[in-house]
Every structure is written in C-alpha cells, then in structure tokens.
Symmetry: C2
DNA sequence: CTGAAAGCGCTTACAG
DNA sequence: CTGAAAGCGCTTACAG
C-alpha cells in the first residue's frame, strides 16, 4: 500500500538507524547483514510500505527488468493469445512488459521503434509481428548491433537468422490436408491467408507437400487467396465451386474463413461434410459451435509466448555475464500443432496413423541450426 | 539506429565541444541556445544516433512518461479493442504503456499491483478491469492516497467515486429491448452475462426499464444467466423455450451468446426472425456473417480507451502543476452505444423514433457529477 | 557486519 | 547564451 508522498531509502535508513547502504542490502537479500539489523529494517519497510524506485535501481544496475514487446493485431486470435502468455510468463520472472502495438506490420519504422525501446532501457525485446514480405530484413541485419537481445515470435521455418520461436505452419498445412485426403477427398482446395503473410505461405507449402506425398496432382486452380475474414471465406467457396464443381474438401487457413465456407456451402446446398469436408485453423472458442462443429488445427500459441520469454531471459542473463551484448545464436524453436477432429470433415475410415502421430508430437520442440541465407 | 555500446550525454557533449548541459538544452528544445551551437549538437546527435537514457531522465524529472495499464481478458472482444485504443492514443502523446494483465478480475491483490506500478514510477494508471462484485471498493477508498492519478475504464453508471470512462450499459439494454418490442415482440427474453459483472447487470436494468416504459409486464422467468460463451447462449434458448414456449424475441447480452441462440433456434426449428427475433451486443466482425446476419449493439470501445488516455494525461498535468497528487474529481464520462439493425430481428413497422434518436446520440458524452455512496 | 564515497546519466537551479 | 555544481534515488566497490 503506497500512499501519499514517496519514501526514499535514506528515510527508511534514518528510521531504522542504519545507513542507506544497509537498507539496500536488506532489500536485495544480501547475506551480509546481522539478523537483528535485517529484521529491524524489514519491519520499517513493511510498516511504511516502502518500495524502491525502480528507475533509480535501473540506472545503477544497468538493467530495468522491463521487456519490450512489439505486437500487431490484438483483434486477431493468435496475437492476443501470444501476448497474454508473454505477459504472464514475464510477470512470473519479475519482468514488466512495455507494450508497443504497430498499425501496419509491413511498416518501415522498425528502427525508430527499437530505438525508443532501447532509450527506455528495456532489457530485451520480443518481436511478435507476423513475418510479411521483407519486414524482418532490417532486424536480421542489425540484430548484432543492438544493445539488447531480441527474439522473434512466429516467422518462417528454415530461415533462422534471428533467434525465434515459431509454430510449424508447413506441418499445419500438411496435417489438415492429410486428414482431408484420408477422409476420401478427391479434390482438396485451399483458401490461404494474404500472400504477403509468411504463415499463410507456409500453410500453402504444407498443402502442396501433402498432396504430393499422396501422389495427387497439385491443382493450382484450387488455391484461392483469402484475407482471414469470414466474408473472404464465403466468397472463396463460390469462386472455388465455379472453378471446380467437383470440389469435395477445403482447407481454410483460419477458422473465420472456414465459417464463411460453411455459410456459403449451406447457401448453395452443399452438405458439410457429406458433399464438402472443411478444416480450419486456430480452434477459436466458437469453432465447436459452428454448424457443423468445425474440424480445425490447434496451435500452441500460449507455449510460443512463454518460450519467447524464457529464451529472452536466458539471453539477457548471458549478455550480463559477458558484460556486453552477446552475438545472437540464430536458432529457431519450432512448435508442432495438432488436429482437432469434429464434424465438418468426413471421418477417416482406417486409423489415420499420420494424424495420430502428429497429435502425439504436438507441442514438440525442434531446434534448427542456423544456415546462411 | 542505436547500435553497440550506449552513448552518454557527456560523450555527445565532448564531441560537440560543449557541456552536457547544453546538449541537454538542445535535447529538450530549450530556446536559450545559440543557433549554431544547437545545430552542431543536433548534427552529432543524428550522426551518432544518440538517445537519452529515459531512466535517468525520469529520475531527475520525477516523471517516467510511462502509463500503467491494468487489463483483463484480452481474449474477449471488448478488452482487446480498448487496449489497442489506449496504446495508440498513448503513443500519440509520447507515453509508453506498461501492461499488467490479471488472471482473475475478482482478485484481491489490487494494492500489490498498484504498488508495483508505482515503484516503477508510472505517471498514471488506467484501470481497465470490468467491475465485478466489490473489486473496485479498494480503489475507491484509496485513490486519494495514491501517489499517481488513476482512471477507470468501464464500470457502473451512477457510482462515480473514481474518475471513469464508461459505456452506458443501461442504454444498451434499452436500445435492444425497445427495438425488439417495436418489431412486435410479445415476449422478450434476455440472456445476461454473469451476474457478478456490473456490465451484465446494467444491461438487465435496461431490459427492465424498456419493458416498463412500454407498459409490459416484467417476467422474471425470461431472465437467464449466461457466461458470454456460445454454448451458454445455446443452452439458454432451450431452457427459455421450456419456460415459455411462446417466446418470440431474445436479447443476448453479447454476440457469442446470440450465435448460440441462432444455432439452437435452428436446431429446434424456430425461424429467425419470423418466429424469434434476436439481438446481440458487440458487433464482432463475424456478426454480419451469422445466419441470419445479426442485429446487434455497437459499443464505442475505442473511444473509451482514447478518452481514458486523454483524461489521465490531463490529470497528470494537473498533479505536476500542483506539485503534489491532486484529489481525484469523481466524475464519470458516459458514452452511448448504437443499434445496428440486420436480419436476425423482425423489422420495425413504423419508424422507430427511439432507436433513431439513440443512433444520433451515439458516442455522445455525458458527465455525471459525483454523489456520495 | 557496516558505513563513507563515488557514480549511474540525466536535469534543475545558480552563476556568469 | 553557456558552464560548474548539486542532486534525483539507488547500488557498487572500497574501507574498516
């Protein structure tokens, strides 16, 4: 309970009849204080509710115990989950979060943002902006020049020039498509996210890989670009049916677009899943209440946020021990997603060994080595 | 671009051949610097990418230019919109955001949180936790003892013991219910949010007020408590129909529950809106793609976040001028919501003057005076 | 085990 | 218009 005027360490020291020094020792749990002295000081501290000024502490210690977090699109499902996990894990480690939201993930002012975070003396930066186009090029080039460690959340598999925690989006595409094929689908279409998003791109790669693994022809006409919204899913199904009336399975790269597909299917009299199997991604709270309940891919978003914090805390520790910014070890931790089968997709007749295997392997951690770009 | 080792103001001063003092003047745009001197210093600053250490600046100025934000439930629609707006508006004012997410809005450790924020020397606190039970009592009692100004976002109308920005939830309930009655409904049910949430409570008050204003009997059996989730909406409709088979209109206190109602209605063969009119709250992105598209109430969430920042910045300014924490002026700014009519509700035959009026009045600002509790 | 001194990187008066 | 001094509230060596 901190009320009224702020106390300083000197005032506490005076009240306890010791030096500021000694109060500092007690505050920092140093062993070299006489038990009675420590107790007396503790007493005063809890009586007065004194709490040390973290600005001053930060200045002397050269660390703020603050993590900079740069994020985008809290209105989306993924980013809000990741941020929530980051905050919780950071709090557990005693770090506060300084939040910067950006309006446009493709924007150029990356360095301005980083500068401002550094000026505020954050101990590390978690960069949780979806990878789009070349919006990470700057970061990759400059990372070793920055005064603080940086870690990325999300991003493209196999390009780990910056330490990062990502979800295996290729696997997501494969998981969904394998399932649809196993359910007997002849023509599996895909509604992707915006082509600029690497996550969307990678899911498409997974779709292709799955078709090829099953010896299917990859029909490019069955690829339609959506924008993550319900309406884009809706429109995409209409276009898809125009292009290929025999379409009998669809992988929508998020649940909102899948919802649009369900509506459109209903509108044109296609039964789900009898005539059309549908799989989404995200497992939003509503997904199990769609009509029919949606088969979807559940991503370990919370885990990725937690891991990002754990990693950055490690990096911070290393930098401090080395007494200088340590070179970034460019490794990527890749997390696996898992399929959740509901009623929007035709059941798999034989036990689907691939899907089962992937399910077991969910939340598995893979570290990729760096490789030159 | 801040790379490598950090510069200090002394180094910049040395490079420019002036005192640290003068560099400080340039940094703070003070008028009393010779133009050529200023220019030379500026030059060095941009060449080196020097940025002053905000911790040090904060320590000397007694202000951090950081706003503490305490929020809950980023997974929900409202909170994430409010937070986004807060961040943007704060950035515009040159404030950084220190984010604290809480797990349980009813939790008791309010003062621990506030203390930690104060220890970090935030200049003000935005408290964006939904009002539940007595979770604001502590704040209301202690607000004038805190070393920094606090402002609440959300909360109950008519109990403005702490400065707050809120949305008129009574009006929301009235707006929805008026619309349903005007559409010819005989029996208007309500699915509320959890009874502990004041927002839910207030919407229920609005429902009652509307019924009474129309000379209708208030049937308490038509009140069912939901938990904001789709499934609770679904189950609630079944229970509602059991209780009152003639039910022909339903106000679901958020869009997710309204979605559940739509599904349940479909399942039991009730046509929407012919047999059952449905209105939700929030206007989530999916609402216009529900089947049928959902009539709902749109809240000015972004506005409330922006206003909160503007107000807290004012309060900070006042406190600084007074050179001490200023007593909180307990006034509440109440924002109006607006109805969005779509196809889930039966059309209003005569022009609905009430709804129209409310629409015009949307986003209107009302300041209530304090009154003793 | 404890304290006096110096310093973290700035800014605020105070001189000139 | 400019600089030397003092101080913001802590902690880090350094003595004792």
């Amino acid at each position: 309970m901190s009320r009224g005027k702020r106390l300083t360490i000197r005032e506490v020291a005076a009240a306890a009849g010791v030096s500021a020094q000694t109060v500092s020792r007690v505050l920092n749990n140093r062993p070299d204080v006489a038990p009675e002295t420590a107790q007396r000081v503790q007493q005063i501290i809890s009586e007065t509710g004194y709490a040390p000024n973290m600005l001053a502490r930060g200045l002397t210690q050269g660390r703020s115990h603050v993590l900079g977090v740069v994020a985008y699109g809290l209105d989306y499902f993924g980013p809000s989950r990741v941020l929530t996990a980051i905050e919780r894990q950071a709090a557990e480690f005693g770090y506060a979060i300084m939040l910067n939201l950006i309006l446009d993930p493709a924007m150029g002012d990356v360095d301005g943002l980083i500068d401002s975070l550094c000026a505020r003396q954050v101990d590390g930066i978690i960069w949780a902006i979806p990878e789009m186009g070349a919006n990470r090029a700057w970061l990759a080039n400059w990372i070793n020049e920055l005064p603080v460690p940086v870690i990325l959340v999300g991003g493209m598999e196999g390009r780990p020039d910056v330490p990062s925690i990502a979800i295996d989006n290729v696997q997501i595409g494969r998981l969904a498509t394998d399932h649809l094929i196993s359910g007997g689908a002849k023509h599996v279409g895909i509604i992707t996210g915006p082509a600029t998003w690497w996550e969307a791109e990678q899911r498409l790669v997974g779709w292709r890989a799955s078709l090829q693994a099953h010896g299917r022809e990859v029909e490019e006409s069955l690829v339609i670009e959506g924008d993550w919204s319900v309406s884009s899913g809706e429109e995409s199904l209409y276009r898809m049916v125009d292009r290929c009336p025999e379409i009998d399975a669809l992988f929508a790269c998020n649940d909102q677009m899948a919802l649009g597909v369900l509506h459109a299917a209903h509108a044109i009299g296609k039964r789900v899943p009898e005539d059309l199997s549908v799989v989404g991604v995200d497992n939003i709270a509503e997904a199990s209440h769609f009509w029919p309940p949606l088969t979807t891919v559940d991503q370990p978003l919370g885990n990725s946020g937690e891991l990002a914090v754990k990693e950055i805390v490690q990096l911070i520790k290393k930098s401090r021990q080395a007494r200088r910014p340590v070179d970034a070890v460019p490794e990527m931790t890749l997390l696996k997603a898992r399929l959740i089968v509901r009623e929007s997709s035709r059941p798999v007749p034989a036990p689907d060994s691939r899907a089962a295997e992937s399910n077991e392997a969910s939340f598995q951690r893979t570290v990729l080595e760096a490789r030159p770009i």
